[in-house]
Amino acid sequence: MTTPTAAPHRPPLNRERERFWYLIHGEWTKFRTVRGWVIAVLVTILAITAFAFLFSDISAGCAVSSGAGGTASPASCPPPPPTGPGGEPVQDAFYFLHQPLTSNGTITVQLTSLTGQVAIGPGSNGQSQMGSGLQPWSKAGIIIKENMSQGSAYAAMMVTGSNGVRMQWDYVNDRPGLPGSVSASAPRWLRLVRDGDTITGYDSADGTQWTPVDTVTLPGLTDPKQAGTVQAGLFTAAPSTGNATTTTGVFQHIGLSWPATRWTATNVGGTSQNGVGQPGTFSQSGGVLTVTGGSGDIAPLVGGAGVISIQRALLGTFFGLIPLIVVAAMFVTGEYRRGLIRVSLTAAPRRGRLLAAKAVVIAAVGFVAGAVAAALALAVGTPVLPRTGIPVWPVSLLTEARMVVGTGALLALAGVLAMAIAIIVRRSAPAITTAIVVIFIPYLLTVGVGPQGGGNGGGGDWLLQATPVAAMAVQQALPKYYQVAAPYAVVGGYYPLAPWAGLAVECAWAAAALALAFFLLRRRDV
């Protein structure tokens, strides 16, 4: 194919004629004057936008009547979950022993035990057979909450199954305290101090040396409607694993800075769809309170079926990638096929500059197509998405901007990758096949398309960390919460890498392909 040649003649730079801008202009003219390519780019935009409609509407988990009638039918859709202070859908279902706290105050407890049970199979008389099993994020502790309605503001100090002492507030926030698990020989002391709308959490191993964990401001606590009264007390929550769970906490040395009244026991959320799995119980003997709560959590909703985001509207990206890859490859292979490459290289003898000009043009085309398509897709998807009946995670304008710019960058880099591969192989069919296989197959293997869902057995997260499709992470709008144990699956919209890190992986692929293309383009005759 290639015969070794003498070093090619490299004429000195003619400043006027070889300005980089002229090369870009030339390449752009080549691109825009081929009608089929322009149509393919329009198809890219159209595909992403059209599938925004498809994916955000018919992806419904429950029946949707989108006709003239209007909204989702309540019969088949579960009731919407409560929303937290930040507007995010949350789970707020736990067993709460509470007293009203009308002004500032302090609550202190000592926890000596945290145990849990989990259903391990069907038992007699309809009850599940329970075996011991504490979840990593099973929790028991003290909480100050705005009011008894689900989704209201709160701050809590707690011991957890295997994550030590934590302070959590307003569903999405979490701060670690003392490490290690709780036991009679290693008790944990917890304290919450309320001062107006500020709450400070402390923990201690001995009840005398207190360490502040964090101080948070919860504006809801001074809501004039309830004249500053909040609910304070003890709670347990047992995150469900799909099976029923319970968590039991043993509380001692309960110290209240206000005149104590009787404890009122409430299953926050009731035992309805969004409430606890089973009602809690408590028993009191001497100064020891044993509190057991079942299947519930105080946490943001996560997971593919539990909550969706506007990210779904961008799933058409895969559909848009194919025409873009085809065009990006033909942008090069067309020149080889027609012999135009000889003219191009004669006009721009410094081959690296020609390669750079081509990369700039295809990247610009990909970026504009991706960004425009993503903006349109988000605009189309936003009004349609709530019709699915699945709770929608609120996405900030900044995140949407990142999704739009990121999708543009994703397509731009895919275009550059395909173009570079095309320079390397110089033929359209192998170039397009390589680019599509490299981008699509890792995703296919990760989402598991075999007959049993995970049919491949070998595909793991590493495929989405090491291949160009890692860039899909730039579209992720659902935050991952490490304090909520859930299967953060790719099909649910969770990617293993951070948004820009994922894009950086694709960037590395494109750069590597460009480097190889540059090397070969300089070394080969044509």
Partner: protein, 276 residues
């Protein structure tokens, strides 16, 4: 492009049709075997299928009876990228004629265009079938050697990995790869451009399963898995959980056969009623 402008050649007299077909076959076979490209592509099919199958097999672990892994599907993981190469064989068989201008010569020599197309299809079928058989045999052998050591044992519900079901999975996978190559040939004949054809074929193959995986509406996902050539066709690989398949294995391969027949028909019609 007008129909009136096309002059169809008179039909062959009886007895000559067969000889003409044989001549067409011989000519196409000469074209196929005297170019290095198809050989390398078919070698790529074998290499990808065996290498990725072996890698997936050595990564797969089945630790309990309910691990939910299908040993055949694991062994044939390499089919996912290999079918793209098989598609390339089909696309380039026709696409190269158009990109080099050879098509004018071919159709001048063989004015009965459908004879040319089906000679092309026949010439592609045999080597792809052979390469696929080699690829699947290699992948199956690799799986046979590694998987029992990774927990795919009779105790976990995988009797021998050489039952009739496993044979069906292997034969079905060979047929699947061949059908994909023919599907691509039909698309290329309809589109007349290798780049566009390979884009269409790979989109057809890979987009159905992606859409089915991310759509949370189970009914629509199931239908997509029944319609799409890749997910339907790979049902033929299933050796476990047969009752939960959206189609029976042979039905799934039948769906691919329908897609292939449709693509070939489309290519034939386009070829017959259009200027080359």
């Amino acid at each position: 492009m007008s129909l009136a402008a096309r002059v169809f050649p008179p039909p062959y007299p009886a007895g000559r049709a067969l000889r003409a077909a044989a001549a067409a076959l011989k000519a196409e076979w000469t074209k196929f075997r005297t170019v290095a490209e198809p050989f390398w592509l078919l070698a790529g099919v074998v290499a990808l299928t065996v290498a990725i199958g072996a890698a997936a097999g050595s990564a797969a672990r089945c630790s309990s009876a309910s691990c939910g892994l299908d040993p055949a599907t694991v062994s044939y993981t390499g089919i996912y990228p290999a079918q793209a190469v098989a598609a390339m064989v089909g696309v380039l068989a026709v696409g190269n004629e158009y990109s080099t201008g050879m098509i004018k010569l071919s159709l001048t020599a063989m004015p009965h265009r459908l004879t040319w197309l089906f000679a092309k299809a026949a010439v592609v079928t045999a080597p792809v079938l052979a390469a696929s058989a080699l690829a699947v045999a290699g992948a199956a052998l690799a799986g046979r050697l590694t998987l029992p050591g990774h927990g795919f044992t009779p105790a976990h519900g995988y009797p021998s990995l050489t039952t009739g079901t496993d044979l069906r999975a292997a034969v079905g996978t060979v047929l699947y790869l061949t059908l994909i190559a023919l599907l691509s040939l039909g698309v290329a004949a309809a589109v007349r451009n290798s780049a566009a054809a390979i884009g269409v074929v790979l989109g057809l193959l890979y987009l159905f399963p992606i859409a089915a995986a991310v759509i949370s509406n189970a009914t629509i996902a199931r239908h997509l898995n029944q319609i799409g050539p890749l997910p339907a066709g790979l049902d033929v690989q299933a050796t476990t959980g047969l009752n939960s398949l959206p189609l029976t294995p042979w039905q799934g391969l039948g769906v691919v056969a329908l897609w292939t027949a449709g693509a070939l028909l489309l290519g034939a019609l386009a070829l017959k009623f259009r200027d080359a």
